[in-house]
């Protein structure tokens, strides 16, 4: 997820840097109103924690790669959006200036992707989803899972847009193809992020629910105005929805396939396209519908909703699996 230097153009880096600076500055301003003496060690510890947590590898069977937690949603659910964003920004600063992970000029881009979208957007989505549930704990778990997945997909959609803007002058640069690939890969990565977030959060909720800021009521820490919450959540959701619909809205069934057709290599095109997208539509229940033009659009949306629900169901099952009451031995730490 870390964007290195020279991938994006200077204009994009400067713009993202400005947005991130304002966001971090505003978070610091909000934190200063609260108990500044307490937030400094707590945020520092959270940043150190996320850093250590990112070192734990989650193996994937059948693949030489392994994933790790990114932690934006987790940090903001536990510390609130202001301290959460600051913690994420600090993690990225340390990773850049201490380990050369992620670019120096792309630091603003990385803070925007993982901090602003992950912590702020993730917090807003969690809050919105959690409000729909009667039980605050269930709401928090479901909300955090949805937010973790959405924030990763939204960040990849934003990256694709930035990538396109950086290289738009290049001949034959195909935005749809890049977009489809990036978003597809990251919707899989997002499932991993959602599962890890759910596992970690269920453990914390089972043992020390008092540590989770979002569960506290009447505490000013991490409270977002309804309008701001709506806007931030809406932006993240819109990005993620756009991620799903853009390849179809462009008039092509799929960017890769469209390019393959244009370049006239039929035999190769069949194998070349992304297999996941092949049946990405719901068959019409009535024959007459399938001839209507609008069914294509509806079916794609239905498939998108179905996919999201399937992911939620998987995450919910996982949550249930890992949130059994802990052993007495574990409590006594």
């Amino acid at each position: 997820m870390h964007v290195a230097d020279s991938i994006l153009s200077p204009a994009v880096c400067v713009a993202a840097g400005a947005v991130s600076t304002v966001a971090v500055g505003y978070s610091l301003h909000r934190l200063r109103d609260q108990l500044a003496d307490r937030t400094i060690p707590l945020t520092g510890m959270m940043a150190g924690l996320i850093f250590a947590a990112q070192m734990v590898n989650f193996p994937l069977i059948g693949a030489p790669i392994s994933g790790h937690l990114m932690g934006g949603v987790l940090a903001s659910v536990i510390l609130g959006p202001w301290a959460g964003l600051v913690a994420l920004a600090l993690v990225l600063i340390v990773q850049c200036l201490f380990f050369a992970d992620g670019g120096l000029t792309a630091l603003g881009v990385n803070i925007l992707h993982m901090g602003v979208i992950g912590a702020w957007g993730g917090y807003a989505v969690t809050k919105i989803v959690a409000g729909r549930f009667a039980s605050p704990r269930t709401g928090l778990m479901v909300g955090a899972v949805v937010a973790a997945w959405l924030s990763v997909v939204a960040a990849s959609a934003l990256f694709s847009a930035e990538f396109w803007y950086s290289h738009r002058g290049t001949p034959d640069f195909d935005f749809t193809g890049v977009f489809t690939l990036m978003v597809l890969i990251h919707s899989a990565i997002g499932i991993g992020e959602a599962l890890i977030t759910a596992g970690v959060l269920s453990q914390v909720l089972a043992l020390r629910p008092d540590l989770v800021a979002m569960l506290e009521t009447g505490d000013e820490r991490g409270r977002l105005a309804p309008l701001g919450r709506f806007l931030a959540g809406g932006i993240v959701a819109a990005l993620a929805i756009a991620a799903f619909l853009a390849p179809f809205a462009s008039g092509h069934p799929d960017g890769l396939e469209a390019v393959a057709e244009r370049q006239q290599f039929d035999g190769l095109a069949q194998d070349n396209r992304v297999a996941l997208l092949e049946d990405y539509a719901v068959p019409a229940p009535v024959d007459a519908w399938s001839e209507a033009g609008w069914w294509e659009i509806v079916s794609v949306s239905l498939a998108g909703v179905g996919g999201t629900l399937a992911i939620l169901a998987i995450a919910w099952c996982f949550t249930r699996a890992v949130s059994r009451p802990p052993d007495p031995v574990e409590v006594s730490t």
Binding site: D5, S6, I7, P10, V24, A36, D37, R38, I40, L42, T43, G44, M45, M46, A47, G48, L49, F51, A52, A53, V56, F58, P59, L60, I61, L69, V86, L90, I93, V94, L97, F98, A100, G103, L104, T105, H167, D172, F173, V178, L181, M182, L195, I196, G199, V200, S202, Q203, V204, L207, R208, L211, L256, V259, A260, F265, F318, V322, E330, T333
Partner: protein, 219 residues
């Protein structure tokens, strides 16, 4: 962990003796140069790579370290940018991909040079001199301090997990145990933060970091 840290940053080479500001400026200059080098002037990219490489050898950074970092970095960059030729059915886009990978590799070399000639604690002092926001700087110092504590804690928990599980279990089991481990790490860390905060309050902490070089009469 020790193999990954800034263990070359404490040497006394020509590069290490440069002023802190100049080190940061040079790194920015090289990254900026790599970023604006046009596609047609590719020999310039070679020149920039040479500059970065000679800087690294002047600073005494061993080749094995660079090889390890690049062996992780270059395949990742190629994978990230594979969408460029893939979007064109692998008929074109290779030049663009090659340029991006080359540019980012040069930038990584430049950043590695900075990381290995400027120790983080000295960077914190420099940031303070450059009027970095004090609250952010204080939190950054705490992050730097807690980083090692949390890393050690995490390594202890990983070792304990390995000893007990014998590497058995399916994918779901592995993910569940690791998530729980992270949950425990989080709880331990936050509990520790509370304890540290209490101890700091007991020693007169009022939210303002006092440095050794400060005038004591001010505080």
């Amino acid at each position: 962990m020790s193999g990954y840290l800034d263990r070359y940053a404490r040497r006394r080479s020509v590069c290490h003796r440069l002023p802190d500001g100049l080190k940061v400026l040079l790194t920015f200059a090289l990254i900026g140069a790599a970023l604006v080098t046009p596609l047609e002037r590719w020999p310039l990219l070679g020149l920039e790579a040479l500059v970065a490489f000679s800087g690294l050898s002047l600073a005494g950074v061993p080749l094995a370290y660079l090889r390890r970092r690049l062996a992780l970095f270059i395949p990742m960059m190629v994978l990230l940018t594979i969408s460029l030729p893939a979007a064109q059915g692998f008929r074109g886009g290779w030049e663009l991909q090659g340029t991006i990978v080359a540019r980012s590799t040069i930038s990584l070399l430049a950043l590695l040079w900075l990381v290995n000639v400027l120790p983080f604690d000295e960077l914190l002092v420099a940031l303070r001199r450059w009027k970095f926001p004090p609250v952010l700087l204080a939190t950054l110092s705490f992050t730097y301090r807690f980083l090692f504590v949390m890393w050690d804690e995490m390594e202890r928990m990983q070792r304990a997990r390995k000893v007990r599980s014998f590497g058995r279990g399916g994918l779901g089991f592995l993910w569940a145990t690791r998530s729980r481990m992270l949950g425990m790490l989080l709880i331990r860390g936050l509990t520790r933060a509370e304890r540290v905060y209490g101890a700091m309050c007991a020693r007169g902490w009022n939210g303002r970091v006092v440095h050794l070089e400060d005038d004591p009469r001010e505080s």
